[in-house]
């Protein structure tokens, strides 16, 4: 495993939740056969995008070792996360993979001063032996996000703005000098005029600190702006993944097309195409329980086979698309891509 130097490697990860009581419960496959890997050679920003209920947060829990997959494997630097039983081992893993959460006002207790979180992180991960050293470590981490300890010391969370406090939570994540930062919807609670500040920070971390960023979001516009690669999730499946410019400029999967079209463009001249009538999906649980492609109920190009068997992952150019349109089943539908499409797994 360690031969090809992968930071994270998910292999056919599946997570099944049981919803309901003892007598009647429904199986919900929150993460369905998800595979992707991140290289440790070249830092990148990898985006997991999808709507609510698509399974992106469940994937982030897998990556943080917070949840064991029902089947399949999650490797970090060649080691299976499920087999990290020893606390010291897991702590070493946590040191390398740090999270940033959605709502900074919820991650910080309103009754504690924000700097205490920075000190605790520094002390817990052995980055400092005493508070004096911790203050130094905290200050240098804050410098990286454009703040300083003097600015935030003795402050409570409510005394900082949304943009500032979210930068503090990124600074906290930087203290153990991680290799990966996993940011789950880090800008959805931040105002528009401050949003780009956080997003630009991730770019800077990738370029200057060589940190790999896993960016989980529903916002395709910021994803396009910062990421190198993107994976689009729908009801537990990754339906399309590849370089962000390919996937969002010329989406292949019908769902990605719909998603891209639905993002309102901040330009009034696009109004007409956006106003084209769409049909909304049935309730979530219904789509999760669907056999075959989860998008079949809404797909304009649906075929019989889509409703029967889960579509395979098809490699088309530089990306992987989970859709029958790009297999030999499609016949006329994929004329343009026929010559370079081939099945890699079933």
């Amino acid at each position: 495993m360690s031969a090809d130097r992968k930071l994270f490697d998910l292999q056919h990860a599946v997570v099944v939740f049981h919803i309901g009581g003892m007598l009647e419960s429904t199986r919900l496959i929150a993460v369905n056969d998800v595979s992707f890997s991140l290289s440790s050679e070249k830092p990148e920003i990898f985006t997991l995008a999808g709507e609510s209920g698509s399974g992106k947060t469940t994937v982030s829990r897998l990556l943080l070792g917070d949840l064991a997959p029902t089947s399949g494997k999650v490797y970090f630097e060649g080691r299976d996360l499920v087999e990290m039983h020893k606390p010291a081992e897991f702590k070493a893993f946590m040191k390398k993979v740090q999270p940033v959460f959605q709502n900074p006002f919820e991650t910080f207790s309103p009754l504690r001063r924000v700097e205490s979180y920075l000190f605790d992180t520094a002390l817990n991960f052995g980055m400092a032996r005493n508070r004096l050293e911790a203050a130094e470590v905290a200050d240098s981490a804050l410098q990286m996000v454009g703040l300083s300890l003097a600015e935030v010391s003795k402050r409570y969370p409510h005394e900082l703005s949304g943009g500032q406090i979210q930068r503090v939570s990124v600074a906290r994540a930087l203290i153990p000098q991680p290799e990966v930062i996993l940011a789950d919807e880090p800008v959805s609670m931040v105002d528009a005029s401050l949003r780009m500040e956080i997003v630009n920070l991730f770019r800077k971390l990738r370029d200057e600190q060589k940190v790999t960023v896993i960016y989980i979001t529903h916002d395709l516009a910021t994803a396009y702006y910062i990421s190198d690669r993107i994976a689009i999730m729908l009801r537990g499946f990754i339906v399309e993944s590849g370089p962000v410019e390919d996937v969002l400029d010329r989406p292949f999967h019908p769902y990605t097309k719909l998603l891209k079209e639905s993002v309102p463009e901040p330009a009034p001249k696009e109004r007409e195409s956006w106003a084209k009538h769409i049909s909304l999906g049935t309730t979530e649980v219904k789509e999760y329980g669907r056999v075959g492609c989860k998008f079949a109920g809404r797909c304009p190009q649906v075929m019989d086979i889509c409703r029967q068997v889960d579509p395979p992952d098809v490699q088309v150019e530089q990306r992987i698309v989970k859709c029958y349109l790009y297999t030999e089943h499609a016949g006329q539908a994929s004329k343009e891509n026929k010559h370079d499409s081939h099945q890699i797994s079933a």
Binding site: D191, A192, M196, Y224, D249, P264, E265, P268
Partner: protein
């Protein structure tokens, strides 16, 4: 002929705790008019006074919110209703739901979680008319929601059984039972996914086009305004910075704040570097002097620190509050 006329409105939150009084200048000198048959967008970041403005317009004044000065007049037939002086009874009998209705952000708070959706419909209708024949009423409501593209089963469901987009569409259905002339929508799609957001906004737009009423759409999302609104007002720290037809606002924004807001929007297909403004929105308990945007404005001059810029008409329907625009230097 304006449907709603707001003049120099100042609404403050006044609190007094342990003898320390505090005044938050949430809406400070706002004037605008709403016309029949338009979608009017109000944009601004959190805590810029958008929600306070709606509260005042819809006659929802509760302490500590107080109106300091100004007027809000709603045209009901041939006479003006003063929304600041209106009695609770008149509000309930003649205005709420019938003339002015609301679509809120969290539709869960409009729908009673322990009663079926149809009961909420009954509650609202019963404030204005007696329901004699339940069966005929059910039929009427089914017809109403099916026009909005909702299945009839929705009426017989509990709110938690519906998805977020479905609930929001139910909220729109509730708001349109009596064909009100003004629908106030406060962040109606903020909690929704993009595909669902598109569906819900399309519905709102179609209803407006059909009934030719007025929609006051409040959201922080400029991209939504670009696609839905006819005119847009940009608020910052309790004041109007700019107001213009949507087309103009996006093509030729005049206020530095609007320019920044529009230029910083990320777009699919554009990877050009975009930056944030330095600083943060001001604390409205202690707003900056002069133009409230001046501490963050890259173009601020001395005058901006001292004098409050007036909201001036620069061209047809386009109003801007900026000293630089007024002096013709921009």
């Amino acid at each position: 002929m304006a449907l709603l006329n707001v003049k120099d409105l100042r609404a403050y939150y006044r609190t007094e705790i342990y003898g320390i009084s505090r005044t938050v200048h949430a809406v400070d000198g706002v004037s605008f008019e709403l016309y029949p048959n338009e979608i009017y967008g109000v944009a601004g970041e959190s805590s810029c006074g958008k929600t306070t403005l709606i509260k005042v317009i819809s006659g929802n004044l509760k302490p500590p919110l107080k109106v300091q000065s100004g007027s809000v007049n709603y045209k009901l037939g041939s006479y003006d209703v003063d929304m600041l002086q209106i009695s609770q009874d008149e509000m309930r009998n003649n205005i709420r739901w019938k003339e002015i209705s609301y679509v809120m952000q969290g539709s869960m708070s409009v729908l009673n979680p322990v009663r079926k959706v149809i009961k909420t419909f009954e509650d609202i209708v019963e404030t204005h008319q007696e329901i004699e024949d339940r069966k005929a009423f059910l039929g009427r409501m089914e017809a109403h929601i099916s026009r909005l593209g909702l299945p009839a089963e929705v009426l017989n469901a509990y709110p938690h059984q519906l998805s977020g987009g479905m609930r929001q569409r139910v909220a729109i259905a509730l708001a349109t039972i009596f064909h009100p002339r003004l629908i106030i929508a406060d962040e109606p799609t903020t909690a929704l996914d993009v595909v669902v957001q598109r569906g819900v906004l399309q519905l709102l737009k179609n209803i407006q086009a059909e009934t030719k009423n007025t929609v006051l759409l409040v959201t922080h999302d400029m991209a939504v305004h670009a696609n839905v609104a006819d005119r847009v007002m940009i608020m910052y720290a309790g004041r109007i910075m700019e107001e213009a037809p949507t087309e103009t606002i996006f093509r030729a924004p005049s206020h530095p704040y609007t320019q920044h807001l529009i230029n910083s929007l990320p777009m699919i297909g554009v990877r050009m570097n975009k930056t944030s403004l330095p600083g943060t929105p001001p604390n409205l308990a202690n707003p900056p002097s002069g133009c409230r945007f001046h501490p963050r404005c890259p173009l601020a001059i001395e005058k901006c620190r001292v004098e409050v810029p007036e909201l001036l008409v620069v061209e047809n329907q386009h109003r801007v509050a900026c000293h630089l625009v007024k002096e013709g230097t921009r």
